[in-house]
Symmetry: C2
Subunit: 180 residues, 2 copies
């Protein structure tokens, strides 16, 4: 992978996380990288190719950090804490929400190729979380997995909006201690 290609992906991710799919333009990416927009098209022919590549790389990095659930004899609580901490570090790195959470919110206008990459991220997250509750009833496990994932997306979005990591910390705390 050429260095230019990586720089393009970096810039594209930055702009999508700033304002979504439509806030990421070939010209602005080109300026950020120090080339012209026609050169960006050389690496990624269309915008959906570019956005899909950004989402794929984001998902892969995310899953590598997560690893296999409960692999090292960790407890369920340990793993949930680690999961919440991953969203936390995704936020504090640049003060932005989750790439795939942002793209999810504009699914109706995304090209099919991009939408399927975003759906794959959500699916992978829920599958990973579901394995933590493997000893519970299957539908209960799925419910908890869906809840933890969507809660984290809501919390990282609120943290980004208010530029305040407390929203993520509050969510982790309430998931552990309960609300009622």
């Amino acid at each position: 992978m050429s260095d230019t290609r990586t720089q393009i992906l970096d810039a594209a991710e930055k702009f999508i996380r700033r304002g979504g799919y439509n806030d990421c333009s070939f010209r602005e990416i080109a300026t950020a990288v120090g080339i012209k927009s026609a050169s960006v098209h050389h690496h990624f022919p269309t915008k959906q190719d570019l956005a899909a590549a950004v989402a794929l790389r984001y998902t892969e990095n995310f899953l590598v950090i997560l690893g296999q659930p409960l692999s090292a004899g960790a407890t369920v609580k340990d793993e949930i804490a680690r999961y919440c901490a991953l969203f936390r570090s995704a936020f504090v790195a640049g003060g932005r929400a989750c790439l795939c959470g942002i793209l999810s919110n504009e699914a109706a206008l995304l090209p099919e190729l991009v939408k399927s990459e975003v759906a794959a991220f959500a699916q992978a997250n829920v599958t990973w979380l579901g394995k933590l509750f493997a000893d519970e009833e299957v539908e209960t496990a799925r419910r908890k997995a869906r809840f933890i994932y969507s809660s984290m997306q809501g919390a990282i979005g609120a943290s980004a909006l208010n530029q305040d990591v407390r929203w993520l910390d509050d969510a982790a705390e309430c998931i552990f201690r309960g609300v009622l």
Copy 2:
């Protein structure tokens, strides 16, 4: 308020909830209402005027339904259930996420006027929820309020993405029963 003005607000809300601020154009609104884009500008001079009016109307309707917390001697559980049900009905009406949740995710590219209306919606929600926990320690109450609000935003976003109300139902269930 003229009927045309209401129709414009209806169309604008529909398009913003479909794909965000940039997916809402004067020309498409005009076509939906049956007039020309220049006539839309007569009612709302700039796009930020229009989007701010949409967000204000959305917030007012939302708060009217919520009413005063615990006013009729309802329990905390009753009120939380009612709060969750309001997000549920906001979804099932059109299969879309919350208007202000969607706009929140692109805060970086919103005009100041729109951003402040969106912030007002979040503030009003958290304030309303906070009153439910008035007998708890103040910081605990705020934490729970922030969590319930951001959880609902995450859940309605996931329900809209997957066109499946289960994500909202799962969130309500887990808020009541806890995860761990």
